[in-house]
């Protein structure tokens, strides 16, 4: 299982970019951490999610 924002998901083997798009994230508004490393946006398409990965997706909203 893969942990995404603290929730268990059965997505091992999926492409990280595809997963984020399917979840509806606007990539220009998020920061993605994979196993404690921040992932540059241009690398997302090259990453296959593995079992036991821990993914944190921080979605920003406007206002300040």
């Amino acid at each position: 299982m893969v942990t995404v924002n603290g929730e268990q998901k059965d997505i091992a083997g999926s492409n990280l970019y595809t997963f984020l798009k399917e979840e509806g994230y606007e990539l220009s508004r998020v920061v993605i951490e994979l196993n404690l490393d921040i992932i540059p946006k241009e690398e997302l398409e090259n990453i296959t999610i593995k079992d036991e990965d821990v993914i944190e997706v921080l979605r920003f909203v406007g206002g300040g």
Partner: protein, 217 residues
């Protein structure tokens, strides 16, 4: 010594004593040695800067490309006579009226992925205080990847007039603290008001002070 309006009330010694003397002197010294950068000087950043200056944080970097607009007065620290002035300079003027003996460095530039490392190098704490979600994400991403020593304190979600108590401070990554409700976005029918923006700014300022005072450096 700065000329006081009230018979020398603003000489350095007097202002030093004005820091709450109930705190031990190490606390004051630690805050005075700290260097904090503030990216974006709007409702979050201008209020964070005011709170950190009142708390005696010794060196503040003030970064914004914009000028003060009349639509900023609903939530930002600026005053009517400052409309039209570059925000970093206008904010420095206000901060000098709170404590002229702290160091204020101003940068009037738009922050981009290319200039993040140059602008924020040397600052152990960076406050993300931008307005646009894309700019927030860009700054957090770039600081965390390009400045390996820096901790980011970000503001995310403070629009409207909903419950104050859902605005929280959370550590989401090893070097990232995020303050806000995480969800209220600006857009059709939803704007920003002073109370919730200032609450979020205070969360950020307090986390900055905790990071300074809990650090071993």
């Amino acid at each position: 010594m700065i000329q006081g309006i009230n018979g020398g009330v603003s000489d350095k010694e007097t202002l030093d004593k004005a820091f709450d003397a109930r705190f031990p002197s190490e606390i004051k010294d630690k805050l005075n040695k700290a260097r904090v950068a503030i990216a974006g000087l709007g409702g979050l950043g201008s209020n964070i800067a005011m709170m950190l200056a009142r708390s005696g944080v010794g060196h503040l970097l003030l970064v914004d490309f914009d000028v003060v607009d009349v639509t900023n007065l609903n939530r930002q620290a600026y005053l009517i006579p400052q409309v039209g002035r570059p925000k970093p300079q206008a904010l420095k003027e206000l901060l000098c009226q709170i404590n002229p003996y702290l160091e204020y460095e101003t940068v009037s530039l738009k922050v981009t992925p290319e200039n993040v490392a140059d602008i924020f190098a040397g600052y152990g704490i960076v406050c993300e205080a931008f307005d646009a979600a894309e700019q927030k994400a860009m700054l957090v991403q770039e600081v965390l990847t390009k400045l390996p020593e820096a901790v980011v304190v970000s503001g995310n979600g403070m629009a409207g007039y909903g419950d104050s108590n859902i605005i929280q401070t959370r550590q989401l990554m090893r070097r990232l603290y995020v303050c806000g409700d995480g969800s209220t976005d600006i857009g059709d029918g939803m704007g920003l008001m002073s109370p919730r923006v200032t609450i979020c700014a205070a969360h950020q300022a307090n986390k900055v002070i905790q990071l300074i005072l809990n650090s071993d450096k």
